[in-house]
Subunit: 230 residues, 4 copies
DNA sequence: CATGAATGAGACTTCATTCAT
DNA sequence: TATGAATGAAGTCTCATTCAT
């Protein structure tokens, strides 16, 4: 599926984000099974609707075993979504992000292409966990705070720098960066959600779609480039 | 807040969507109280995390009273989100929607402006219920089916007609309608969610923002209208 | 058993201490059953060793019913021992306690006799609850604090006044009141515990025993009244 | 603290009571650690409220190790309180106890002084275990039987002999021995509990207090030695 | 001997639902 | 119609005990 995605180059550009995942190797097989089962059940039923007994059963483990590894059910949730939140943020805090001196990105379009490829791949790999994250953020203050303060603010700061840079270069219209970002993010998220959630079974040509997506973000859907008044 | 939104004209254009709401008048005060309390609690805690006892308490009725009106807790949920789903669809199925012969919309931009104003107003009025709807759709097959088959497909069909019309008029780029719709919807939903969910307290100038939003949808964020290759 | 105890006069002297018990009449039969069953099981197994399921079974009630009346198991414990603690204290805070102007007690011996009769009767009626109280005080800080600060300090204060009064009258040896009280209390508690706990089935003649007890407290066990040096 | 207690002479008189303790030397360090940790945790939380896992952690051993030495948790409890119960009894069954022919005790007062000093010292050294013993006796039939039948009856028998002896010598009032013993024991236990449990931090002068205690036991608290009628 | 991962019975507690009043 | 006491199934979590290493 979507082998068009040559994530290799991008992976270099964004660097490894597997830090948080490294711990998984220190886990016992049972713990891994619990984690995977929990992801499945949380995604299917939601946190509040998921029973630890079902998780245990799916993991092939006694219910008590879950609580040897995770003090509470909420602990289990946090140890699933917490690391993924960090890795969601990871590429935005890489040192070489936006290091324009080395010519990383020649244009906002290049930046977008790299960003979309990379985060689409990430979303594909962490689909269920992201689903859980989105579902549960409203109901867990700690999660919400971490997401808003640690993640969003950092991402926003970094992307703002990029936008401002290309605004100065004259590539982007002179509109407040937050508005540009909102528009860009909406479009990308809309694509990723359609791609993975609404129509996952459609035969997607990702490279082509990403091309269209970038074209849309940059130039909109109007046939006539003129008459751009508000 | 946002008095700029002269919803009057739009309301006429889209017509009343109070169909499902008419029932409310046949409700006893207790039933109304139950419904309102349920909306509050469901929105705050999620369906699975909400206790009927809390709903009863907030509604000022006995626990048993809830089950006089709604056979089960899930019934209560469906009585809340079901009608709102219909009303979400309502404007798209009005007879005069897309009746372009009477010159309803001179341009795609006009259509967008009317759509955005109208649905933003709707989202504002039904904020909590929409929140509940979005949260619970993944966990209730019936809800999901109704949403995907009854709502989305209908909306899609009607909007596709509009898009095709303006494509033929040469206003819109020659790209498959679903793609155009996805772009458009993403942008609009992104704006509405930012407006109501992420930054509800910001001092928004809706008319201005809607103008920007339409400008984005039509022409993107590039400063240079040329060089539109993919 | 022990009909010798003419508690009537004493009851007048100490006044009613049934205040806290009055609430019991407002209880549903199930709640009373739960309370009684809890007293039995707590007394037999200890708080930590008692299962709410057993209490429910003994009360002829569903386990969930317990938690309609008492939020937690600990709540159930406290609602049992709390009121009894207050009533344990009650006679010591009566206004007429130690009101020597009306000639309540002509001598320390009279005071002791009244006190012993009254508290023995109280202990008999609340035997199991006192047992629970004593068992659980070490393990529940709140209980301990309430007991030490609210109960003991008040009792101590009142009894000290009595002791000092009779010391001034020359009835009691000139030794610090706390020491006198410790000696008196030890003797009385020792009697009550032997009477109710160690040898409850013995055929006791309470009036006679109380006479001996007072004689012992006042004059000890020496045959020879002389040679009283320390 | 309380260096006044020259326990040396008494220790000789009552002889070593380390019988049961001798086993400790055959224990592995881990076993000793387990025992000490168990004493701490049982005393703090009670038997039913104590977790073997906490004991293991405090002892610095694995949970499983406890069960190598003690088949069950109850076994562990009995291994702690059993020997201490025997040692509580020990001085009363020494051959030279009450061997009045060798002039061990010239008077009941001497006997009391020796007894109090000795058992106070014992209680101090075995404070926590005695606490556990008292707490758990009501809930463990085996423990209760052993205590009542093996310990109390033996102690009672021996002390009765002493009391009868001094009664014959005319030192003690002519009252049934059990009653005399109850008075005496209550006073002593009351002192020891106040000393170690209720006010352990007070600056006690034990020799002085023991003098007062004996004086109380022998002559009571009345200022006037006359008028000793019942 | 010692470990500690794993168990599973059973603890406390919640809550949707019923029903006599 | 409305109540709310009562239920009992199911949920989360604890812990004494076992056993392969």
């Amino acid at each position: 599926m979507a082998e068009h995605l040559s994530a290799d180059k991008d992976t270099e550009q964004w660097a490894l984000e597997l830090l948080a995942l490294g711990d998984e190797e220190k886990m016992t097989p049972k713990q891994v099974a619990i984690l995977q089962a929990a992801v499945d059940v949380f995604a299917e039923k939601g946190y509040a609707g998921a029973a630890t007994s079902e998780i245990a059963q799916k993991a092939g483990v006694a219910e008590g075993t879950i609580f040897r590894y995770y003090k509470t059910k909420k602990d289990l949730l946090l140890s699933i979504v917490g690391p993924t939140m960090s890795r969601l943020l990871a590429p935005f805090v890489m040192r070489n992000f936006g290091n324009l001196l080395d010519g990383s990105f020649d244009s906002y379009e290049d930046f977008l292409r790299s960003l979309i490829r990379n985060r689409l791949e990430f979303a594909r790999k962490n689909f269920k966990i992201l689903q859980i994250l989105i579902q549960e953020i409203p109901f867990h203050p700690k999660l919400r705070e971490q997401f808003m303060e640690d993640i969003m603010s950092k991402v926003f700061e970094r992307v703002t720098a990029q936008v401002d840079h290309f605004k100065q270069k004259g590539e982007i219209i002179d509109v407040p960066a937050p508005t540009v970002i909102r528009f860009t993010a909406s479009s990308i998220i809309g694509y990723i959600m359609t791609r993975l959630l609404l129509q996952p079974d459609k035969d997607w040509n990702d490279e082509e779609e990403i091309g269209l997506l970038i074209r849309f973000i940059m130039h909109g859907i109007a046939a006539d480039p003129g008459n751009r008044g508000v």
